[in-house]
Point group: C2
Chain length 82, copies 2
């Protein structure tokens, strides 16, 4: 069975995120007020063949630890689509 898996990879809190700062400033310039602490990372969607949702999530976590995320600078969140 193929599961659709959503992964978010985001710079760790406290680390400099120039892209997030640029987006925050641009939103302010466009008139969006009250926006703060913007972080920009990667959103990855994958189709993963697995026996069940738990196995798909586990595989995605291994992919993050091995390749999709930088363990020093980034956090990741994995969600399997229902």
């Amino acid at each position: 069975m193929t599961f659709r898996v959503h992964v978010r990879v985001i710079p760790r809190p406290g680390l400099l995120d120039p892209q997030g700062q640029a987006v925050e400033h641009a939103l302010g310039s466009l008139g969006f007020t009250g926006v703060q602490q913007v972080r920009v990372g990667k959103a990855i969607e994958l189709g993963i063949e697995a026996a069940d949702a738990a196995a798909a999530e586990s595989a995605a976590r291994r992919m993050c630890e091995r390749f999709l995320a930088n363990p020093v600078t980034e956090d990741f969140v994995v969600a399997v689509e229902a």
Copy 2:
């Protein structure tokens, strides 16, 4: 009140996504089998001051329509953290 909002911006289905193809091939090379239809986009987290969660979501959707996503080539999903 400040709400933490998660935005995913992903290339539309059917549009070429070279970054997604590169990730798919790299995962295969690393021994991850059964991975398909990989799409890579942006994950954006924002703190938004708003009266309630619905207002924060609405503001984030306007930001996506105006600036964060390309309406021709990208889809976006907005979720307000509980």
